[in-house]
Amino acid sequence: MAPLVRSDSTRLQTAVSRWLSELTRAGVFATDADLKVVAWNQWMEIHTQRPAAEIIGRPLLDEFPELVSREVDRRYRTALRDGRVSTLSHGLHGYLLALPPTHPDLGLAHMPQSSHIGPLMDGEAIIGTVTTIENVSERLTSETELRRQIEAHRVARATAETVRKPTLGGAVPPGRMMLPPR
């Protein structure tokens, strides 16, 4: 078993950074103030097929021009200019980066994602941007199943209501016999 040691803050920060880079189950990347990539975690490497060594130092918007065509670059500029944090929901955007889907059963062309874009701060100063990307495929699968179950329950209830109510068409409630006219 690894020994538990008390560490200084620099080593703790390095350890946290490594955890974020290697172990977190979300994409995390950062840029400098000129939107050049300065950090690219393992999740990003796996899902973009771009190693960190290849992409670090490259302009983000050159590497992912769809960010410009979809006008997402504005979010990066407001992060740098005004310190604003942007939420990009799957429901309104679909995805941030066009990455290969991980759940083909969803029938989507790209991995469905939720993301945040925000300023990277050094004290009070904005020194770059940071982006997190979450793969929401499993959540969509669960929601689809939940919707199906809710709809099935609704149909079952509606059917039960129809059977319970007497109708003009002569449907006979259970337990009653129709007698012929005298």
Binding site: G91, L92, R139
Partner: protein, 205 residues
């Protein structure tokens, strides 16, 4: 209790008009639907009276999108919607039926983004136009009672004393929706904001 003058109220409403205009344009661009705005109405009250003021207007559980801001002015900003309006909003924006918000994570996320757009627009406009530097936290959505939202404020933040309440109504695809933007500030921050509003208004004329 801090009161706004007629002139300050007018100037703040104009600023909020500009902010909501920008938010509506963002939402419209994202969804392809036009957002018809109504004139925002504002009032100020001490945070002790906030839930009493809002309770008649927001029934039941509240969907609250919360962002903390800091810089020259410091405080909390919320977008508040009743649960049903939040679900309707998701359906109107995404064309997909919403399940109850408690179990629909995608709906919660869409409502969070709408809140983010609205709050960023308000605080960003204050920042840009009033030349007041503001930075923001990541937005966070909760579903709880109004008293729970207000209660967490009073406990969490020392020095927060006043709430600027903005009644925001808009129409989207033929449906009317009403929500509230609540900006909670310390006495010092509200003074700074009001001075910046006065300065902006005098620069306009």
């Amino acid at each position: 209790m801090k009161q706004l003058t007629v002139g300050q109220t007018d100037a703040l409403v104009e600023l909020l008009n500009i902010a909501f205009g920008r938010a509506a344009a963002s939402l419209s661009k994202l969804t392809g639907h036009r957002v018809q705005l109504e004139v925002p109405q504002i009032t100020m009250c001490p945070i002790d009276e906030l839930s009493v003021y809002l309770r008649p207007m927001i029934q039941g559980e509240v969907a609250s999108v919360h962002q903390i801001f800091s810089g020259s002015v410091v405080g909390d900003a919320f977008m508040l919607l009743d649960g049903q309006s939040a679900a309707i909003l998701k359906e109107l924006l995404t064309n997909e039926p919403a399940m109850p918000l408690e179990i629909d994570a995608s709906a919660r996320e869409v409502v969070t983004e709408v809140g983010n757009i609205l709050l960023n627009a308000c605080l960003g406009t204050f920042g840009n136009v009033l030349k007041v530097q503001v930075s923001f936290s990541v937005p966070h959505l909760t579903l709880e009672s109004l008293e729970g939202v207000v209660g967490s404020l009073a406990v969490g933040q020392e020095g927060l004393r006043h709430a600027l309440i903005v009644h925001a109504a808009f129409r989207l695809r033929g449906s009317s929706l009403t929500g509230y933007v609540v900006i909670v500030l310390s006495v010092a921050s509200i003074d700074r904001l009001v001075r910046a509003v006065d300065q902006w208004a005098s620069e306009q004329t």
